[in-house]
Symmetry: C2
C-alpha cells in the first residue's frame, strides 16, 4: 500500500539499513549516498510507518500530555503552546505528536493514562496540574515515572511538585512560583487596607491549593501574626470551576462574617465569586475586592477587570516541550521555577469605610 523503506532502498540502490540510517542520523553516511536516498524519499513521497518504527525502536513519536481538562483555559493554553512547540517550524526534527488526556485530576485516571501511554511506548510524558497529595498516589506515581524515565521516556512535571525519583533519570519539573504570587497578591490586598480577607481555596489535598493558600497566609502572618487565624472562618475550600466559586461565596455570605476582599484559587473561581457577589447586591471593588489567579484571558473582559497573578502558561508549555523532547538539557537539580507576576486591575481597591456591610 504505502511506500515502504524497502522500496525507497531499492529505488536508491542501497540497503534498507542505509535508508534507515539516513533518516534517523546518528551514523556516518557518505554524502553521495545520503543525497541519493533523500532524493528517493522525495520522489516516492515516503512516509515512515510510525508503529513499525516504534516497535523496532521501542519508543514512539508520541508525547503524552496529562491535563485536568483541556476545556479549561488554564490547561488549554498550556497544552496548546506545548503542542505547537512540539512541532518546530523548520521541519527538521521528526514531528512529535501530542496525546492529550483529561484526567480530571483523579489519581486513578492519571495512572490509567500512563499505563496506556507506556503501552504505546510514548517517547515522553508531561504531567500538568496540581498533584493530589496522598502518600499512596505519590509513591505509585513516582514508581511509574521512574519506570518510564528508565525506559528512556523523559517525564516533565509541570505545575506540580517534584517527585522522589533517582537523579540522573530524565525527569524534569517546571514549577510556577505560586507561593510568591499568592504572597504578593495578599500583600497587595493588605496594602490597600483589607484585613478581613476571604479566601476561596481549591480542593483540599491538591498541591496547588496548599501552596497558594500557604503563600497567602504567610503574607497575612507577616503583616500580623494573628491575621491568618482571624481569617480562617473566611476560608472555604471548593472546586476549580466557576460554580464552585459561586457556591462558596454564597456560603460565605450566608455565614454572615464580614469581609472586604475575596481571593480565589484561580480566575475561573473568581468569576463565580464575582457573580455571587454582584447578585447579592455588592459592588466590586466598591464593597468587596476580588482577586483571581492565573491571568486567564477572561480577566480583562470582566467588569471590572480582574486583579490576578499571571502564571506564564505559554512559556511553561514551550519549556516542557523542549525538556520532554530532549531539545533542552535538564536544568541542574531538574527543577525550573517560573516567576509569577501580580497583575493589578480594577477589581481590587481599598475597602469601604467601616459601617458598610458586610
Amino acid at each position: 500500500m504505502a511506500v515502504t523503506l524497502a522500496e525507497v532502498a531499492a529505488h536508491a540502490g542501497v540497503s534498507p539499513a542505509t535508508v534507515s540510517r539516513v533518516l534517523n542520523g546518528g551514523y556516518p553516511v557518505a554524502g553521495g549516498t545520503r543525497t541519493r536516498v533523500e532524493q528517493a524519499v522525495e520522489e516516492l513521497g515516503y512516509v515512515a510507518n510510525g508503529p513499525a518504527r516504534a516497535l523496532a525502536a521501542a519508543t514512539s513519536d508520541l508525547v503524552g500530555v496529562l491535563v485536568h481538562d483541556v476545556a479549561d483555559s488554564f490547561f488549554g493554553i498550556l497544552a496548546g503552546s506545548l503542542q505547537s512547540a512540539l512541532a518546530p517550524k523548520g521541519h527538521g526534527d521528526p514531528r512529535r505528536l501530542a496525546v492529550v488526556c483529561n484526567t480530571e485530576g483523579a489519581p486513578e485516571a492519571e495512572l490509567a493514562y500512563l499505563t496506556l501511554l507506556e503501552g504505546q511506548r510514548a517517547g515522553g510524558v508531561v504531567l500538568t496540574g496540581g498533584a493530589v497529595e496522598e502518600p499512596g498516589h505519590t509513591t505509585a506515581l513516582a514508581a511509574r515515572i521512574t519506570r518510564m524515565a528508565d525506559a528512556g521516556a523523559p517525564v516533565v512535571l509541570c505545575g506540580r511538585p517534584p517527585l522522589p525519583v533517582p537523579a540522573a533519570l530524565p525527569v524534569a519539573t517546571v514549577m510556577f512560583d505560586d507561593r510568591g504570587g499568592a504572597f504578593r497578591l495578599a500583600e497587595h490586598l493588605l496594602s490597600l487596607g483589607h484585613r478581613r480577607i476571604a479566601y476561596v481555596a481549591g480542593p483540599p489535598g491538591l498541591s496547588t491549593t496548599r501552596v497558594r493558600l500557604g503563600g497567602h497566609r504567610e503574607a497575612l502572618r507577616r503583616h500580623d501574626p494573628a491575621l491568618p487565624e482571624a481569617c480562617d472562618p473566611l476560608t472555604v475550600h471548593a472546586g476549580f470551576e466557576r460554580s464552585a466559586g459561586y457556591d462558596a461565596t454564597r456560603e460565605l455570605l450566608r455565614r454572615g462574617a464580614p469581609f472586604t476582599a475575596v481571593a480565589a484559587a484561580n480566575d475561573t473561581v473568581a468569576t463565580g465569586v464575582a457573580a455571587a457577589l454582584r447578585e447579592a447586591g455588592l459592588r466590586i471593588p466598591g464593597d468587596v475586592s476580588v482577586a483571581g489567579f492565573d491571568d486567564l484571558p477572561v480577566c480583562v473582559d470582566t467588569a471590572p477587570a480582574l486583579t490576578t497573578v499571571r502564571v506564564p502558561l505559554r512559556e511553561a508549555g514551550i519549556l516542557a516541550a523542549q525538556l520532554v523532547t530532549g531539545r533542552r538539557p535538564l536544568p541542574p537539580g531538574g527543577i525550573t521555577t517560573l516567576p509569577t507576576e501580580l497583575m493589578v486591575r480594577g477589581s481590587t481597591a481599598p475597602p469601604p469605610p467601616e459601617g458598610s456591610r458586610p
Copy 2:
C-alpha cells in the same frame, strides 16, 4: 521487559494466537479457555504493546483531532469533550487516545498533520473548525480523506462543510446550524429596532465566516431588501482573536459611519469589540449593542453579559467521538446538523434615540 503476549499465553497454557483472539474478540473462544487467559492477563498485569498491535493490524488506537488551536475555548471545549468521550467510563472498550494538532486553520498544516497521522496508522480523524474554501485545498483534502477512510480510518468533519468523497466510505459530517443562528441573531437585533448593524466577520475564505455572514445578511434582506447593501460599509473582515475585534472596531469607529449594533464572528472577537467600544466612551448596550457567537463561558462574565448564539460544542464532541470510533452508525447522508440557539443577554437592547452618536 514488559510482559508480552507470548508470556501470557505460556502462563495460561495456550497459544499466543488464542490470547490475541480473547483480547480482540471477533472469534469464537471456549468459555474455559477465555477465563484462563483473562486470569493470566490479570495476574501478569499484561498491557498490550500498542505499536506492535498497530503494525500487525495496520491500524492504531490513535484518533487525530485537528483544531485551529486548543488554547481557544471553542476548540478546547470541543476537543475536551471529544477526548473524554473517547475514553468510556466502563473500561470495556480499548481506550482510544486523542492526538490533538493545532493547525491554525492553515491548509498546509492540516495536510501535514494528516500525513503524520496516516503514518501513525491513526484509527480515525476528526477535523474541526471552519474550512479554508479554496478549490485546490478542498480537492487535496477530499483526496486525503478518501484515502484514509478507504484504509479503514473513519473521518469526521466537525463544524465544516462536507467534502466530496465517495459515499459508503466512513466519512461523517457534524455541522452546526450557524446560518440559522446568525439569522436569528440578526432578527433579534432588527426586532429591537437596529438598522445600522455593523458586522465584524471572520477571515474571508473560511466556511464559517461565509455561512454566518450569509445567515446574517439573509435576515437583513428579509427585513428590507436594501438593508444588506446599506450595511456593507459596516462590515469588516478580521481574524478570530480578541485583538482582531478590537482593531476592527477601532477601524469602524474611525470611518465614522454610524451604527447602533455590532455582531461579531464569535464571542472572542466580540469581547475585543466591546473593549474598543468602551474605550471610545460608548456604553453597551446603551449606545451600541454587541453580540457574539458560540456562547463560550466568557459570555456570562462580561458586563453586560454577552448576547450570543449557543453552539453545542460538548454535544458535537461526544457525537464526533462516537462516529469516529464507530460506536454510532453514520446518519443517512452522513450529515448531522446540530441546532444552535439564540441566547439573549444584556449586551443587546434597543438602539438609542436618533441624535446620539455614532
